[in-house]
């Protein structure tokens, strides 16, 4: 690994100013992507600012929404009584990320800031229509997720919390890659009083996306049978050594059916 400077920031404004002043500074949350990437020399930040001392934890029930501190680890989310009660789909999603050791370190804020096209959390953010809160502003999911590994965050902007509206029902079902446990396809279905939202991760060439024709079918009839074979096109889907675009299209339909069944 290239050499780097490590700083544990005491508060957000210190953290932001260190990254602004550095040549190529990066915020460090759980490090479960960043550190392996640095080990492979695929990233070489000259300065790492650890957010662990900035107090961005805590999970709160705010009535219509749940607010999760950005440094909440996957294990915290998976085991949170509030989340299990109010939006169990998020707890379930968190309990399937990576492996236990990754869940003991990895954070929701870090995962969303990275916006990996195969990560699970972006589908919950988009599927539920959640909001990202930074030290400066609030950003709705559609504006925040701007493409594969891309978000609307400015360089010195830090996610402090994420809020998720409570749906009537929701479920997340993924087809994990057997080695990495990343989603080869993951589908988050959320049913609200006025709409059904379907967000797909692991498959889109531009990262997570909403499957509008599946949403239309489920708005009409919230039933697994509403998803007929061939209703997902393979255009704009990823094709790689793990799966072809056609196979991913098929999995999207199947994972959506399973998620709808899991909502019942």
């Amino acid at each position: 690994m290239y050499s780097t400077k490590y700083v544990k920031a005491k508060d957000l404004s210190i953290a932001a100013s260190i990254v602004t002043d550095a040549e190529d500074g990066k915020f460090l949350a759980g490090g479960m992507t960043l550190i392996p990437t640095m080990k492979q020399r695929l990233a070489s930040p000259d300065c790492l600012v650890d957010l662990a001392g900035c107090g961005l934890t805590g999970i709160e029930d705010e009535g219509a929404t749940i607010r999760i501190g950005a440094m909440s680890r996957h294990v915290d989310v998976a085991e949170s009584a509030v989340i299990q009660r109010e939006i169990p789909a998020i707890a379930g999603l968190a309990s399937q990320i990576g492996d236990r050791q990754v869940r003991n370190r990895g954070t929701i804020g870090g995962s969303l800031a990275n916006n990996d096209p195969s990560a699970c959390y972006p589908s919950a953010l988009l599927g539920l229509g959640g909001t990202i809160h930074t030290q400066n502003r609030s950003i709705v999911a559609e504006d925040f997720l701007t493409g594969m590994f891309e978000t609307d965050l400015d360089e010195e902007e830090i996610i402090i919390a994420i809020s998720f509206p409570k749906p009537d029902k929701a479920a997340y079902v993924k087809f994990p890659n057997p080695a990495s446990r990343y989603a080869m396809v993951g589908v988050f279905v959320a049913k609200f009083p006025d709409e059904v939202r379907v967000a797909v991760t692991g498959a889109g060439e531009d990262g997570v996306f909403r499957a509008s024709n599946l949403e239309a079918a489920l708005n009409e009839n919230f039933n697994a049978e509403a998803i007929v074979d061939g209703s997902v096109s393979s255009d704009d889907l990823m094709s790689d050594i793990h799966a072809s675009a056609e196979y991913r299209a098929h999995l999207i339909g199947e994972m959506t059916r399973r998620a709808v069944v899991a909502c019942e």
Binding site: M1, Y6, M32, I35, Q40, Q101, N104
Partner: protein
């Protein structure tokens, strides 16, 4: 360089390390605790698992500096003098290892599994070992060892 203090296997210590030192490098090369292994470059194998404040983590994917002020337990720290930890004993008695390379990580992972959930089903054990790779045993005896230890530890 950063000054770090931590408690490793019950001993408080302070060291100055380069900022990019991984916890596993610190344990193995600075402290000589070579029971914690490095089996991969991709954070997948789990040979490097140690406990950080009682929870299992992959020490190859953490900077030593992040762990400042924490309590770390490695495979060297779980036996009670000459008396093996029940999990170590169970691996010994159930032939839960062949070459032994993955074993320290398996044992550390398994201790957390059993401590968090006493009534583990076989499936839960297999899923709980997602972060550990063994190239020798085919896992059957590892699972058997953990089932045996779970009974003895309860």
């Amino acid at each position: 360089m950063t000054n770090i203090s931590m408690n490793v296997n019950g001993n408080g210590l302070t060291h100055e390390v380069p900022d990019n030192t991984l916890l596993v490098t610190f344990l193995r090369e600075t402290l000589g605790l070579t029971g914690t292994h490095v089996g991969c470059d991709t954070s997948q194998c789990g040979a490097c698992i140690v406990h950080l404040n009682g929870e299992s983590v992959k020490s190859c994917s953490l900077f030593a500096a992040q762990v400042d002020g924490a309590e770390v337990t490695t495979i060297e720290g779980i036996a009670n003098g000459d008396k093996l930890h029940p999990m170590q004993l169970a691996f010994h008695e159930n032939h839960g290892l062949q070459c032994g390379f993955c074993t320290p990580g398996m044992v550390m992972s398994a201790i957390e599994l059993v401590t968090k959930n006493k009534d583990l089903t076989e499936r839960e054990i297999r899923e709980g070992l997602e972060g550990n790779i063994c190239r020798c045993t085919g896992y059957h005896n590892i699972v058997k060892s953990i089932q045996d230890a779970a009974v003895k530890m309860s």
